[in-house]
């Protein structure tokens, strides 16, 4: 279940997902969230933290889909993530509406499983 949206993630980031650090993620001008197969947050960058109004430290270790962004716990978002991870082929882009600081905000989402590094990513950019 994917709607039309082109990826906004720069090629240098995509090429280095296996080695991307928290500091490098913080330098990105879009949201970068690394999660494990269950959705537990490993990297949560500053851009996403600023928009969501939470600290990076408070997000790390929590479930992205049920604790940090519970509005993603539906078939379109978490469902696509689980399906893609199970199939080992997560690569889905779609438009979504997050709430940042109590305001609905249009964003583009890219869910990606990097098979080389076996890592999962949620990328977010305001539309």
């Amino acid at each position: 279940m994917t709607t039309t949206a082109t990826t906004f993630v720069s090629s240098d980031v995509l090429a280095n997902l296996g080695g991307l650090t928290q500091a490098q993620a913080n330098a990105c001008d879009f949201g970068v969230v690394q999660v494990d197969n269950a959705g537990k947050i490993i990297i949560y960058n500053q851009w996403e933290a600023d928009l969501a109004g939470i600290t990076v430290q408070s997000a790390i270790g929590k479930s992205f889909f049920t604790q940090i962004a519970p509005c993603t716990n539906n078939g379109l978002f978490f469902g696509a993530f689980k399906k893609g991870v199970a199939a080992g082929s997560l690569d889905s882009t779609f438009a979504y509406t997050f709430t940042y600081k109590m305001k609905p905000t249009n964003v583009n989402i890219h869910l990606l499983h990097d098979s080389a590094s076996k890592t999962n990513w949620v990328f977010v950019k305001t539309a």
Partner: protein
């Protein structure tokens, strides 16, 4: 509890269903929005309405395409007990006309022009500039949550004032009966400005927490629906018979219909050929009228017969001695909106005469016979109960014939016979004019003396209204305007197979 005391009956329900929730989820062509973001958007609109000085019962015209903004505004209006008047998006001049007709204090539309008392949402669905509401001519209508217009296919449109009690009754009876839940993915093709599309289709899905996928073509191109259903794993869809009939013309369309776990076909009667196809699906018939918010009857999944309208749901029904279907209950609207006098209260607990003629089988299942206003009088005062005669004539002709009995001059009866089934058309045409006259004579009896033309026409040659129903010429032509001679001309009968 404080909210309930003040009359804000939707607040706790909206809060529980939407705040922080991932479902209901709404998917549009270029956007998807979970309940949580509809909720936060609605809070911005609530603040906007309050700062504009709107109060419970003020009428707000909602003239947007189905969109995230539409949902935010609708929810905000429910929260504030405003009276929502959903209308199709249109030009600024039409909007101004609608504002006047419904005495709205504020209108929300996508216009870029600066129009008094009109506001547009931004691309995120949020309110933009502040606006001064217009002064209303009539008193606020705090008991009325929605003003919905009838389609006008049965005469001039009526504007039903739907109360919280009406809306609550229909949602309660239908969500349970339809078995909707958070796992459902509903395809929304019907307009959100009409009772069927708004209440039976959209709001049942919203309050069940389902996912709603909005058709970008707004139901106008059914050929795209099977692919849309595949893309989104659609489980349910509501539609009018015309849409279902068009889908049934193709293999992919029929596969789509049979793949659905549920849904309601309503808005117009379903004829026998379509009923045969729908009997292979889990779809069910729905019957109602805008004045009944609109649910009156529902069929069982996959149970279809010619012109069935199902069993009464959430209300009491009665069929009077003239076969009129009457309805009474919490679904029947308490008032009608009049452009000239505002709200006109209707008697509490009244029987609503649907104007539809129905028959009922022993198990309570009702079938549509026709519209009572399709009966007419000849100039000699004789009543011609066209809907009932048409059914008998169709039976006499066999197959899947549809018969229309009409008059242009109120002296001569014309019979038009049609069918979507080519074999039926051929066999009827093969009878010839004399054969047809012999076949209809036992049913028409002494009315045979008034019989004019017997015409056989292909289904696609017939004019239809927006609901897909055949247009009857006598509704639009007065005898005096058609025939000034007063001649009766039975010799003009002819037979034509188009």
């Amino acid at each position: 509890m404080a909210d309930e005391k003040k009359g804000y009956v939707w607040r706790s329900r909206i809060r529980d269903r939407m705040r922080g929730r991932a479902t209901p989820l709404f998917i549009f062509e270029h956007a998807a929005i979970p309940a949580a973001s509809v909720w936060t958007g609605s809070r911005l609109w609530v603040e906007h309405f309050r700062s504009a000085g709107l109060q419970a019962g003020d009428r707000v015209l909602l003239a947007l395409e189905p969109s995230p903004a539409w949902l935010m505004i609708f929810v905000a209006c429910l929260w504030e007990d405003l009276t929502i008047v959903p209308v199709p998006p249109s030009s600024s001049s039409s909007i101004l006309d609608s504002i006047r007709r419904f005495d709205a204090r504020l209108a929300i539309t996508a216009t870029k022009e600066s129009v008094p008392a009109v506001i547009s949402p931004d691309r995120h669905g949020r309110p933009t500039q502040s606006v001064t509401p217009r002064q209303a001519a009539f008193a606020p209508s705090p008991e009325t949550r929605l003003i919905l217009s009838t389609s006008g296919t049965c005469g001039r449109p009526t504007h039903a004032a739907i109360s919280d009690r009406n809306l609550d009754a229909v949602l309660a009876s239908h969500i349970q009966e339809l078995g909707l839940d958070e796992q459902d993915i509903c395809l929304s093709t019907l307009p959100w400005t009409h009772a069927f599309g708004l209440i039976i289709d959209l709001l049942t899905a919203v309050f069940a927490g389902a996912t709603v996928v909005r058709d970008p073509a707004n139901g106008r191109d059914v050929s795209t629906l099977p692919a849309l259903a595949d893309d989104w794993d659609i489980t349910r869809a509501c539609m009018v018979p015309l849409q279902a009939a068009k889908l049934a013309e193709s293999e992919t369309g029929r596969r789509f219909l049979t793949s659905l776990h549920g849904g309601v076909i309503g808005g117009a009667p379903v004829d026998m050929p379509l009923a045969h196809i729908l009997a292979t699906t889990r779809l069910r018939v729905g019957y109602g009228q805008t004045e009944a918010s609109p649910g009156i009857a529902l069929g069982r999944p996959g149970e279809w017969c010619d012109r069935t309208i199902g069993l009464a749901i959430g209300c009491e029904t009665s069929i009077d001695s003239h076969s009129h279907l009457l309805c009474r209950g919490d679904n029947v609207c308490d008032a009608i909106w009049s452009e000239s006098v505002g709200l006109v209260a209707m008697p509490a607990g009244r029987w609503l005469d649907t104007g539809d003629l129905v028959s009922q089988s022993p198990d309570g299942t009702m079938s549509f016979v026709g519209r009572s206003d399709h009966a007419f009088k000849l100039s000699n005062g004789r009543l011609v109960n066209a809907p009932e005669l048409e059914l008998h004539l169709a039976d006499a002709l066999g197959g899947h014939a549809v018969v229309l009995l009409t008059t242009l001059d109120h002296r001569t009866l014309d019979i038009t016979i049609t069918s979507s089934d080519v074999e039926t058309l051929r066999s009827i045409a093969a009878r010839g004019d004399a054969g047809l006259r012999r076949a209809v004579k036992p049913i028409l009896g002494s009315l045979m003396g008034h019989l004019g033309r017997c015409t056989v026409r292909a289904d696609h040659d017939m004019a239809r209204d927006v609901k897909g129903q055949f247009v009857r010429p006598q509704l639009y032509a007065h005898p005096a305007q058609v025939d000034h001679t007063g001649r009766k001309d039975p010799s003009s009968s002819f037979l034509r197979v188009a």
